[in-house]
C-alpha cells in the first residue's frame, strides 16, 4: 500500500493534459515498470474518458428553472417558519375566548342557567338528552363542548388548506 514518490509528478502532468508529451523518457520508462504508476495512468485515463463520454450524453434542465424552484422552496420554508408561532397564537386566543365565555356564563349563572334549562323545553328535545345533561350545568357543558369542537374543526381546516406544503 506504499505510494510511489513519482506519483505526484505523473498526476500533475495528467491534470494539465501534458502526459505523455511533456514527460521525460526516464519518467515514461518508470511509469511502464512501476505497478503504482502504471495503475495511476490506466485508471486516470479510463475514468476521465468515461467522464467526458457521460457528461456529453446528459440533457440539462435550464438553470433558471432550478433557480426559481430553489427560491420557491426557500420562500415556502420561510412561510412555514413564520406560521408556526402564528398557529400557536391562534389556538391560544380560541382557548382564551372559550374560558372568558365560560366565566361570563358562570357569573350570570342564575339567569343563564334558568334560560338554558328552558331551551330543551321550548324546543321540545329534552327527552333526547341523556340524564346527566338534563341539568342546566350539563347543558352549559354540552354547548361549550360543541363550540370548542367547531373551533377545533375550523382551525384544522384552515391549517390543512394553507399553502405551506412544498
Amino acid at each position: 500500500m506504499t505510494a510511489c514518490s513519482r506519483e505526484p509528478e505523473i498526476r500533475s502532468l495528467l491534470d494539465r493534459g501534458h502526459w505523455p508529451a511533456a514527460a521525460s523518457p526516464e519518467l515514461t520508462a518508470h511509469a511502464a515498470a512501476c505497478t503504482r504508476c502504471s495503475q495511476l495512468l490506466l485508471l486516470t485515463q479510463a475514468f476521465r474518458a468515461d467522464r467526458t463520454r457521460a457528461a456529453a450524453s446528459v440533457r440539462l434542465e435550464a438553470p433558471g428553472v432550478l433557480w426559481w424552484r430553489a427560491q420557491l422552496r426557500r420562500r415556502n420554508a420561510d412561510l412555514q417558519r413564520l406560521q408556526r408561532p402564528l398557529l400557536g397564537a391562534q389556538i391560544f386566543s380560541v382557548l382564551l375566548s372559550l374560558v372568558a365565555a365560560a366565566i361570563f356564563l358562570a357569573s350570570q349563572s342564575k339567569a343563564t342557567l334558568a334560560w338554558i334549562a328552558a331551551v330543551p323545553h321550548v324546543l321540545h328535545f329534552e327527552s333526547l338528552l341523556p340524564e346527566p345533561l338534563q341539568s342546566p350545568l350539563g347543558l352549559a357543558a354540552l354547548i361549550a363542548g360543541i363550540l370548542a369542537l367547531i373551533a377545533a374543526v375550523a382551525k384544522a381546516l384552515a391549517y390543512a388548506t394553507s399553502e405551506t406544503r412544498d
Binding site: 490506466l42 479510463a46 433558471g64 432550478l66 426557500r74 420554508a77
Partner: protein
C-alpha cells in the same frame, strides 16, 4: 441540542434550514449561478449516473442537488469549494437513496443489481470502463470516481463522503487494484469488438 444540528446540513441530508429575505441564494445571483451550473452540472451528472448505475435517478438527484445547493448557505470562497460542496450534497442524496428500505447501505448493495449506463456504448478511448465498473461495489465506484475522474485528494473525498481519511486510503487501495485488474483482463464477452 439534538446532535443533527451540530452537523453541517449536507451531511444530515435534510432540507437545509433556510433564512429569510434572500434575493440571492448560495451567495450567487442568477447569472453567476447559470455559469456555475453550466460548468458543474455535467461532471456531477456523470458522477451520480456512473456511481448509481441509473441515469434517470441521476437526473432527479442532479436537480435536487442544485436546488439544495441554492437553498443552503453554500460556501462563497470560490468555485472549487462550491463544486466540492455540490458533490457533497449529491453524495448525501446517493447515500439517502441507498438507505431507503429497499437497500440497507451503499456498502451492501450487490453490484450486479445495479445496471450501469452506457455499458454497451462504443468508445473512442482504448478501454471501456463500464463493464469493469459494473463489477465493483457502489462504494468502490464512488471512491474511484472521485479520485480518478474528478482528481480529488483523500482529504477532499473524506469531506465529500463523510468517511474517515484512513478508511478511504484502504478502500481506495483495494478498489484501485481490483479495477486495474479488471481493466487489464476484461472477461472475454466484455472485450471490445475489433
Amino acid at each position: 441540542m439534538p446532535y443533527e444540528s451540530a452537523i453541517p446540513q449536507p451531511l444530515t441530508g435534510d432540507a437545509p434550514e433556510l433564512t429569510g429575505g434572500h434575493a440571492r441564494a448560495a451567495g450567487m445571483d442568477s447569472d453567476t449561478f447559470a455559469g456555475f451550473y453550466e460548468r458543474s452540472a455535467r461532471p456531477l451528472w456523470a458522477y451520480l449516473a456512473r456511481v448509481s448505475g441509473d441515469p434517470a435517478l441521476a437526473d432527479d438527484l442532479l436537480q435536487e442537488s442544485f436546488i439544495r445547493f441554492l437553498a443552503a448557505d453554500a460556501p462563497t470562497d470560490g468555485e472549487v469549494a462550491s463544486r466540492r460542496y455540490l458533490f457533497r450534497i449529491g453524495s448525501n442524496l446517493l447515500r439517502d437513496h441507498w438507505r431507503r428500505p429497499r437497500h440497507t447501505s451503499i456498502d451492501e448493495v450487490p453490484e450486479d443489481r445495479v445496471p450501469l449506463a452506457g455499458t454497451t456504448e462504443q468508445s473512442d478511448s482504448a478501454i471501456l470502463l463500464g463493464p469493469a465498473l459494473q463489477q465493483l461495489k457502489p462504494r468502490a465506484r464512488q471512491l474511484l470516481w472521485l479520485a480518478y475522474a474528478e482528481g480529488y485528494s483523500h482529504q477532499e473525498i473524506a469531506a465529500i463522503t463523510g468517511l474517515a481519511s484512513a478508511s478511504i486510503r484502504l478502500l481506495l487501495f483495494r478498489a484501485r487494484r481490483q479495477m486495474a485488474r479488471l481493466l487489464q483482463n476484461p472477461r472475454p464477452s466484455e472485450r471490445r469488438p475489433a
